[in-house]
């Protein structure tokens, strides 16, 4: 598929043409995967990052200018999201390495207090739709698909709710954790 075709598909997608949108997403997915293989090696990580990128493209679709090159727009977002993911994975890894190097004594000293009650309280204070999303995926341990089916929403909508819910939860818990420490 040429770049001009992609530009046209993107313009049609903005107008709500689902057939064009599906064709567009199917056409760009292999390109994004190829792009991601330069930075990530594991297939499951690539799949996760790919989904994040597709969601970001979906959310920002209205910012695509039909008279401009679609691929420039797409790669700008893909690159940004890939870097964002690399950063967060690197931070996570750093934290894990740090914890692994502590001996048992140090581990005991730095062991986190039990906040399970506080988490439950904070969760109960979230708006219903976010609480349900987190409850089903994290506490009831349903898969994203199962949870989405149960709530009768799309998987991407569920992920959005979870993501917003985590942010709200984090805000509520930060205060509790600060006080606890």
């Amino acid at each position: 598929m040429t770049e001009i075709d992609l530009n046209q598909l993107a313009a049609k997608s903005q107008k709500g043409d689902k057939t064009a949108y599906k064709a567009l997403l199917l056409a760009i997915t292999p390109r994004i995967v190829r792009f991601l293989r330069k930075s990530f090696s594991r297939d499951e990580v690539i799949e996760d990052v790919l989904q994040d990128i597709l969601i970001s493209l979906h959310r920002g679709l209205h910012t695509y200018q039909p008279d401009r090159d679609f691929l420039n727009w797409m790669y700008a977002i893909a690159k940004f999201r890939a870097i964002d993911q690399l950063r967060s994975r690197y931070r996570l890894k750093e934290k894990e390495v740090l914890t692994d190097t502590l001996d048992d004594h140090e581990r005991k000293v730095t062991e986190e207090p039990d906040f399970s009650n506080e988490v439950r309280d904070a969760l109960n204070k979230l708006p219903l739709k976010y609480r349900e999303a987190i409850q089903l995926t994290k506490i009831d341990e349903l898969s994203v698909k199962e949870a989405a089916d149960r709530l009768k929403i799309s998987e991407s909508a569920l992920k959005t709710r979870c993501s917003r819910g985590y942010r709200m939860l984090r805000k509520k818990l930060e205060q509790v954790i600060d006080e606890g420490i």
Binding site: L50, H62, W73, I77, S154
Partner: protein, 213 residues
């Protein structure tokens, strides 16, 4: 398989969307409207400094300072609207010049304010100039933040800084017409709020505008 299902879900979620305005068009509309608002607000909120029109003709330094102020405001708006949407190659290429340019312009403005020997420092301090600047810059700032919220900026600190700058710099420039030309007064009450507002907006934007998560 999972990927295909995911794509189907996204496709089903598609709604018709109105594309954001082209950056050049919205930049033009913003610049004209904002400068009209700035001078309207300044005109109706108090008297202008007597003799400012003569100063434009007689003092090249004064004219230069005003042009610098207008330049900073305009450039901030230009880069802001171009960076509010991803993948603008033209703006990306020019972007590396922006920090240098802004730094140069700000340094020059500060130097002029601090070491000016030609300006009249005798008076016409506009009452509450800093409060006027801060209050008047709120509506344009809200408009810019709304635009950013609708757009998909990638570098939030950067566009936030530009939004703050584009909102308040025109008022700092207008205060050059309305208020005293005392260098210390300009530095403390006209220029430093510009930096404070720009930096504060950069910080706020980082938390409010994460559209991609």
């Amino acid at each position: 398989m999972r990927e295909s299902k995911f794509i189907d879900d996204i496709v089903n979620d598609l709604q018709p969307r109105k594309a954001v305005q082209a950056p050049n068009k919205i930049f033009f509309i913003w610049t004209v409207t904002n400068f009209l608002f700035v001078f309207g607000a300044m005109y109706y909120s108090g008297s202008m400094r007597p003799g400012w029109i003569e100063d434009l003709v007689d003092k090249p330094q004064y004219l230069l300072e005003l042009l610098l102020g207008v330049g900073i405001s305009t450039l901030a708006g230009y880069f802001l609207f171009h960076h509010a949407i991803p993948g603008d190659k033209e703006a990306e290429e020019k972007r590396r010049f922006l920090p240098v340019l802004l730094l140069a312009v700000l340094t020059l403005s500060l130097t002029i304010s601090l070491f000016s020997g030609t300006q009249d420092t005798s008076g016409h301090f506009r009452m509450n100039c800093i409060y006027q600047m801060l209050v008047f810059s709120i509506p344009p700032l809200l408009v810019l933040l709304y635009h950013l919220k609708r757009s998909a900026p990638l570098n939030l600190y950067y566009v936030g800084f530009l939004a703050g700058l584009a909102a308040i710099a025109p008022f700092a420039t207008a205060m050059h017409i309305a208020c005293s030309l005392d260098p210390k007064h300009i530095l403390i009450w006209h220029l430093s709020p510009v930096l404070v507002v720009a930096l504060a907006t950069a910080a706020v934007t980082q938390f409010w505008m994460r559209w991609w998560k």
